[in-house]
Symmetry: C2
Subunit: 310 residues, 2 copies
Amino acid sequence: MSQPSSPAPTPAPAEVPLAHRVPDLGALQLLLAVARLGSLGRAARELGITQPAASSRVRAMERQLGVALVDRSPRGSRLTGAGALVTDWAGRIVEAAEAFDAGAQALRDRRDSRLRVAASMTIAEYLLPGWLIALRTQRPDTAVSLLAGNSAAVAARLLAGEADLGFVEGLTVPAGLDDVVIAHDRLVVVTSPGHPWARRGKPLAAAELAATPLILREEGSGTRQVLDTALGGLARPLIELSSTTAVKASAVSGAGPAVLSELAVGEELAARRLVEIPLKDVRLRRALRAVWPTGHRPSGPGRDLLGLTR
Amino acid sequence: MSQPSSPAPTPAPAEVPLAHRVPDLGALQLLLAVARLGSLGRAARELGITQPAASSRVRAMERQLGVALVDRSPRGSRLTGAGALVTDWAGRIVEAAEAFDAGAQALRDRRDSRLRVAASMTIAEYLLPGWLIALRTQRPDTAVSLLAGNSAAVAARLLAGEADLGFVEGLTVPAGLDDVVIAHDRLVVVTSPGHPWARRGKPLAAAELAATPLILREEGSGTRQVLDTALGGLARPLIELSSTTAVKASAVSGAGPAVLSELAVGEELAARRLVEIPLKDVRLRRALRAVWPTGHRPSGPGRDLLGLTR
DNA sequence: CTGACTCATAAAGCCAGCTTATGTCCTCAT
DNA sequence: ATGAGGACATAAGCTGGCTTTATGAGTCAG
């Protein structure tokens, strides 16, 4: 609050860290299990903890959120109205955590992997984790290893026989590889709604974009290369950050215009936390491709994974 | 492990719970801060912990994931390649947690709220949290309270002066309210890829859908009403569950066909964890509307929120 | 009225993460 | 060259949260 010396009506927003206002993963999963099974005890058993632990954990969660989540009865437990809502929001967190886990598991360098994938950043960030989860439901035994790098690195791995299937996002396909286009991606210029660009009526010219310092991923990233090519020169960095999420956070906080894949900013655009700035004379579109050594179309688990990408 | 007596090659997938394989929110936020600030110490300061705590936490995370995440140097710390990937996956979790927090904060019944919103489930679940985050960046002082219910409940609150702005998803607008359409929503029939329906070539007839037991939200939900109306009778429940997420989980695990909002299943369809079954002679489309008492178009914070919805 | 199910409570133990207090290494400026 | 400052690592001690075990109490069916 901005009043000088009065007891703050809202007790200081970000004073308490997010991690203390949001229940931990275990608690959220427990809530989901209760919603699905209709009983604290059954949910506890599914998660491998005891019933009192589940009971106290749900109670702690209700205290933390200040909302009753489940209606307990001697015949079981059902979600309250607010509980159903909270459970669905919780589901989004758990889904993101499952994607994280699937990705992290593949990152661990496992020599016994049945399927070795090499992928560029955009694909590894936004598409691959979901595929890995799907693949696991189809073929639970398939251990997948993931290596992320630019197009050249992906091609080198494939040609050296160190990867079975690759995904690239470049404008061209490296020599010696067969490919199939699986999706398209577009880079977008975004600012916070407060930025001057957000209110200008006219589309932005490439020259103007090239002349303005931007929030960007570090040199060498795929995004950066596409941008440099399209602008016919090097984009000027205002800040260089080492992850897409960090770039987004800076843009949302109003630090300046950023250039990102549209896959990265869907939510933010929908909620108007970021605004897309239309461009006049550039198209920052690129194909996302699956690739493999010429003539060696993947079989086995690689074929299955390819099938998930269309 | 289902093999009788042989050492499991993969050390039992879900043996260790998800919560122990994914770092907690605090650790993930710390990683994001390191990515943004370029130093463990600065990141620690931002989160209000000491430098050794940050150091040990990142180290613990690297041990847990089995991957090096940051390159430490006497001049600061930068993410490794794998670290950038992990950081972005972490960002998705943190975003979901922020949405959860924004929603949960609004659910807490606060009488001093400057803006009282009443919304139907689909909107409260998928759209509102993002808007609340955006609203908070625009107007940090605005305390919002949320009440979720069906169209009739929303209308009642508005007409009783107990809510300032409503959102409904019905086919009709309750009497006494002005409205504006903010989006559209479509119910889709989905199954796991293994289900027989996933392989049939032809679209499904409404009669066939009506004759098949389905995984559904409980009676009284908006989804359920739309479905019953479209089928010209009551849909048969195979299982009734009290949250959308629980319905999704059941469908993914192959328990049967489910009917859900397309907003709920975007990720699952993209990764082919669920397959949409086309319908022949029904359209399960409905408008999402903002509503307010006739003649009393919201002003102040309500107007701002309305602006976020287009 | 007994057995099977639910959830709640109480007491005791363990583990994770924090802080404080150092130490080491590098870099830059004087 | 040398000292200051920043950045990360290590060690020791404390605290708090979550668990388990062991109960109690309410509801329903046979």
